[in-house]
Amino acid sequence: MEKKIDELKEKARWVRCQVLEMISNAKKGHIGGAFSSTDVLVALYYGGILKYKPKNPKWSNRDYFIISKGHSGVALYAILADLGYFSTEELEKFCDGGILGGHPDRNIPGIEADTGSLGHGLGIAAGIALAAKMDKKQIKSIVLLGDGECYEGSVWESAQFAAHHKLNNLIAIVDRNMQGVTDFTEDANKLEPLDEKWKAFGWNVKKIDGHSFKEILRVFTELEKDKSDKPCVIIAKTVKGKGVDFMECKLAWHHSVPKNEKLTNARNQLNDNREVQ
């Protein structure tokens, strides 16, 4: 277990390095939310949670993963390239003429839905979970939501629907980094008590540290054994900009791009000792 967790930590470090380079090359991208969700994404793809086949992205028995907070797609791109869904050379062309744009689309191997506008992914994932129930397929439908995304009314329309239809094959993960674009969520428009809201909508609620691989893996192991007929939401407490101290919990780093000394500093903190070009 310890060895596995060390491997996941190393993979997450590598993903953050890729994200940093992609965003600094492109001079655009949402670094804060990508870093807050990196550990969850790494756990899903490398921690044995999702079933998938990179050489056969449409494999009929795959689990579905929808990245509803599409602006964090940059971290997912690094993972999908690493797994062989497409060439790692595409990462160098992020937002610059390749297949990878600021928000994911279905032309990218491994991407299940076009996202970027918030409040769509939970309903889509619920539809996928419902279809799996109809077809008696033993697959999971997992969706990553931003906490700011939970302001969208459509999220709650879908939450209600999923609970009514007992979609216990649906798992929502909320990247609870406490920040929107220009404000902290609790200053702008309180989301708390977020767990009580999901509970009231008929969901099982799990709260974890979204940067602890131990906790992420444990919660999914628990869910495997869970016989409840409710959908489950995992509220993953995270830090926006996680991994680079001057970005952590700073509003400026929703979509700022590090340059010069800041870029070197960020690389150093991620143990990536490349020179600034």
Binding site: S117, H120, G123, I124, A125, G127, I128, M134, G153, S158
Partner: protein, 310 residues
């Protein structure tokens, strides 16, 4: 042709029932909207019928998720709710992803007459036609509505059907609707282009025009998108005058479609657009009264054309 027509909704839903009975992957979602002919669908095919409640945004997204998993999905509500309330979901989840979900909009135009401007459907053509990959079907009779149930089932992309209320006699002998428009009447002085059930008023207009020695073509555009431009242009290039008649807003609807077609192809033919004006309608009365208010009754349309053509 001789058969007594049935309600347009019943014609559509009865056919959809037959299709769904033979294909368990056909799923029907409604935002708490019913119809007489949906009762047996709900009863007999309960696993394929889901009332999602009045939550149209979720309905579209769930439909997309089902379609991404191989289902053929139909979603249903009143036109403004199922086209405008969830417009961005239609844009991203259906049009952008180009997946087989059919939107059934009940009550185009002033079908929900006395329910007021919240329920009037004046902007749906303009709204939906700007979205790539969409097919827009606008049936003019009950038989055609039935045909569109089959057409949408076979189509592998997003479709929007403007389904009216009422019984409308069949205008077509052949039940092949692949051309996208039909020639209902031939004349040499004027071409009237229309869509939806208002064509049944336009037929009366033609009789009135005939009394004034004007013989009119009538073209019924039942597929507004994609428009069969090639064949339409062949017909229109020889027209002396063109009039468009629609119940929708004059902004962005059929008249706009035809004016764009003419402009883009350098056809300098006089064009008169008749439709509802760019305003909200607060006349709480029946559909005919609203038509009269806006000059969309047979007399109003005739006078408008005669005044313009002279």
């Amino acid at each position: 042709m001789s058969k007594e027509p049935i309600d347009m909704r019943d014609a559509f839903f009865d056919k959809l029932y037959d299709i769904a009975k033979n294909d368990r992957d056909v799923i029907f979602l409604t935002a708490d909207m019913g119809a007489f002919s949906l009762v047996r669908f709900k009863k007999d095919l309960e696993k394929q019928y889901i009332n999602v409640g009045v939550a149209e945004q979720n309905m579209v997204s769930v439909a997309a998720g089902l379609a991404l998993s191989g289902k053929k999905v139909y979603i249903y509500s009143i036109v403004p709710f199922v086209t405008q309330r969830c417009y961005e979901q239609i844009k991203i989840d259906l049009s952008l992803m180009n997946i087989p979900v059919t939107i059934i909009g009940s009550g185009p135009g002033f079908s929900y007459n006395s329910d007021g401007p919240t329920h009037h459907a004046s902007q749906d053509i303009a709204n939906i036609r700007t979205l790539p990959n969409m097919t827009i079907l606008s049936p003019s009779d009950s038989e055609m509505a039935k045909g569109f149930a089959s057409l949408s089932y076979k189509h592998n992309g997003p479709t929007y059907i403007r389904l009216d209320k009422g019984k409308y006699p069949s205008l077509y002998k052949k039940k092949d609707y692949s051309q996208g428009f039909g020639f209902i009447k031939k004349g040499q002085n004027l071409t009237i282009i229309t869509t939806g059930i208002i064509i049944h008023k336009v037929l009366h207009v033609c009789e009135e025009l005939k009394k004034n020695s004007i013989e009119a073509n009538i073209i019924d555009i039942y597929r507004l998108k994609p428009l069969n431009k090639k064949v339409l242009l062949k017909i229109l290039k020889d027209s002396k005058n063109i009039v468009t008649v629609e119940e929708s807003s004059i902004v962005g609807g059929l008249g706009s479609i035809i004016s764009e077609l003419l402009a883009d192809n350098d056809l300098q033919i006089p064009l008169k657009r008749i439709g509802s004006p760019d305003e909200y309608c607060y006349l709480y009365s029946n559909r005919d009264c609203i038509h009269t208010k806006y000059g969309l009754d047979a007399t109003g349309i005739t006078e408008n054309i005669l005044g313009w053509i002279k």
